[in-house]
């Protein structure tokens, strides 16, 4: 049983505070992903859990045991690094068995556990090779195997896929998820890639500038972003975001963009806003559709605009067009040919717009 809890944890590098008093409860057997732009404190947090960085403030517990003053080796965690960090002077078999040898297990048991791990990861045929004779994907598997053999309480992954090419990355992503199902151990996984976060996580923690912006399931974050940052960070392509101020028109509140375009405020948000408030409103690419090629949403707001660029991706086409002066992207699911400079009518689904206070960045 290994839940992990961080209570008011901070990390300073000189005068810079990389992690700012974060609180986090990771449930036993959960796959938790820490995601955020570089420098957000996600790696520092992970390294503090591993014991590779000192905890400057707060408490980290694994299970019910406080970890603050324990060495990495006393924490029973396994870490997989971005650059694999396989021991280059050992064969794959020795790499896998190293931790068990250090722990003083007898040869027979080491061999059993190494072969078991190698079996899980399908690397049995490489056992006698040196890391330099392996491809990137194989090395990554060995690195994971090395983590598995120890049967740790917690797996820690530090951007394990970022050195792989796109195709391999997708494949390994699936394997990591499968691995989690097989070994069912708590995993804390750090990445800057929101797609990885969305596909792997039971819950995602989004960090920015050393603080936690939001914790939730992938769907939570996608459907109910708590801040403007989360809204633009999660989802691909990024959410369209337009600055506006609140005005009153025909007794109803509306949003007036900097270019003077006026869009009505969705019904359920009418009471949460005041005239003159500066906001941003966002909508995802699939919530603004070209009328000719899609279904008109129930509460639609329409506009006409010409196409700047179209990117056909097979199942969908991304259409780049202008919303006033700002370029936005629309996702079309009908396999129709759209060319630049085509003038189309677009319908924005008002029920699926997200409003954020411009000052606080919080969702309204």
């Amino acid at each position: 049983m290994a839940k992990v809890s961080l209570q008011g944890v901070s990390k300073f590098y000189g005068k810079v505070q990389a992690v700012k008093k974060i609180d986090l409860e990771i449930i036993d057997k959960e796959f938790l992903v820490l995601v955020g732009p570089s420098g957000c404190g996600k790696s520092s947090s992970l390294r503090m859990i591993a014991g590779l960085e000192e905890i400057d403030e707060g408490v980290i517990k694994i299970g019910d045991k406080e970890m603050n003053n324990l060495e990495p080796r006393e924490r029973n965690v396994s870490m997989v690094f971005q650059n694999y960090a396989l021991y280059p002077h050992m064969t794959v078999e020795e790499n896998l068995g190293f931790s068990l040898k250090i722990a003083g297990l007898d040869k027979k048991e080491i061999e059993e556990r190494v072969h078991e791990a190698a079996g899980i990861l399908d690397i049995t045929e490489f056992l006698q090779r040196k890391p330099s004779q392996l491809s990137g994907g194989q090395r990554q598997r060995v690195a994971m195997g090395r983590a598995i053999v120890r049967r740790p309480d917690v797996f820690l992954f530090d951007e394990p896929l970022s050195n792989l090419d796109a195709k391999l990355r997708n494949q390994m992503r699936t394997e990591i998820k499968r691995l989690h199902q097989k070994v069912s151990t708590t995993i804390v996984y750090v990445t800057h890639d929101q797609v990885e976060a969305m596909t792997l996580a039971d819950r995602i923690v989004i960090m920015k500038d050393g603080i936690i912006e939001q914790i939730g399931t992938p769907l939570d974050l996608f459907e109910r972003p708590a801040t403007k940052f989360v809204a633009t960070f999660i989802g691909s392509p990024s959410m369209n975001m337009i600055k506006a101020s609140i005005v009153k028109q025909n007794n109803e509140l509306s949003m007036k963009t900097n270019d003077g375009i006026i869009v009505p405020v969705p019904k359920d948000k009418q009471n949460s806003l005041s005239v003159g408030q500066n906001i941003s409103f966002g909508f995802r690419a699939e919530d603004i559709v070209p009328l000719k090629f899609g279904q008109k949403p129930s509460s639609a707001w329409e506009m006409q605009s010409s196409v700047n660029l179209a990117e056909p991706l097979g199942t969908e086409t991304l259409i780049f067009t202008n919303f006033g002066e700002i370029e936005i992207v629309s996702r079309m699911f009908t396999p129709e040919q759209v060319k630049s400079n085509d003038v189309l009518d677009f319908a924005l689904n008002l029920d699926r717009t997200y409003l954020f206070d411009e000052n606080s960045g919080l969702a309204i």
């Binding site: 590779l52 080796r73 965690v77 396994s78 971005q82 650059n83 960090a85 280059p88 190293f98 722990a103």
Partner: protein, 286 residues
């Protein structure tokens, strides 16, 4: 002939000239060791040897007197013993201390780290010979003149800065993640160093070791001041035994020189691979 071929010929030609320039004195030493004194001293010089013999080596090693200039044989074996003891011990200590120092500089942050590093490197800018008088005075006060320990201490001090510099570079080259993985794998810091970082930097340590050994083995100036008798004189200092008031036994001296070169040569060949890595590595390090 095209331009490329001409270029090739030019490169080969310059290389050969350069090699001849470098090798000639060495070859002359070797050749002289096998020639009779008459030939060596002949004027005009005899370039192509007319007869070669092993007399000098016989005299040196077995004390034979036939054909030698009537001098009593010099105690080469004592000198060899001194050279071996001094070189190996000083190399071992210098590499041990230097590696630990290099590791410390590469892996740990402490106040004024760069200044300390610079300070250690600055000691290399002082010509060793300029220290011979102060060292002599200090050693004579504490009774280290003409002892193995005294000379070993000097060589250790001479070799540590270079060893620190070279191994520091090698340890830096090993990703930090390597020892971090080892530590989450259950190692203490020392175990991570021993099982992972040390084997990975063995090229650097080996080349640091060979350099230290060669410096100790070949050093002449300092030892000639600090060694007084067969108790501590090394082979290189022993070379001077071939000079008398009015004569120099050139063939004998050269025979001993050849005798000095051989172990160094063997060692260099043995670790050539590491040496090249060490050198080229040092070359690209910022």
């Amino acid at each position: 002939m095209n331009k490329k071929q001409i270029n090739n010929i030019l490169i080969w030609f310059s290389a050969i000239v350069l090699i001849i320039l470098i090798m000639t004195p060495g070859l002359w030493v070797v050749l002289t060791a096998f020639r009779p004194q008459v030939d060596v001293m002949a004027k005009p010089a005899v370039w192509i040897p007319r007869n070669l013999n092993l007399i000098q080596f016989e005299t040196m090693l077995f004390g034979g007197s036939e054909g030698s200039m009537g001098r009593s044989p010099i105690p080469v074996l004592s000198y060899l013993r001194n050279s071996l003891i001094i070189s190996f011990t000083s190399t071992f200590i210098a590499v041990l201390v230097g590696t630990i120092g290099g590791y410390g500089f590469a892996r740990h942050n402490f106040k004024h780290k760069n200044k300390y590093f610079l300070l250690i490197m600055l000691t290399r800018t002082i010509p060793g010979i300029s220290l011979s008088l102060p060292i002599f005075i200090i050693f004579s006060k504490i009774g280290l003149i003409d002892t193995h320990i005294g000379i070993i201490l000097v060589f250790v001090a001479l070799n540590i800065p270079f060893t620190v510099w070279l191994t520091d570079g090698f340890f830096r080259q090993i990703p930090r993640a390597m020892s971090e993985v080892a530590m989450t794998d259950g190692c203490t810091k020392l175990q991570a160093f021993w099982h992972i970082e040390l084997p990975l930097s063995r090229s650097g340590i080996a080349s640091a070791g060979i350099f230290a050994f060669l410096i100790s083995w070949n050093e002449y100036a300092l030892v000639s001041n600090l060694a007084r008798s067969t108790d501590s004189k090394t082979l290189t200092v022993g070379l001077m035994d071939f000079t008398a008031q009015f004569t120099i036994n050139w063939p004998g001296m050269c025979a001993l020189a050849v005798f000095i070169i051989i172990p160094a040569l063997i060692l260099t060949f043995m670790v050539q691979k590491h040496l090249v890595t060490g050198l080229t590595f040092g070359g690209v390090k910022g």
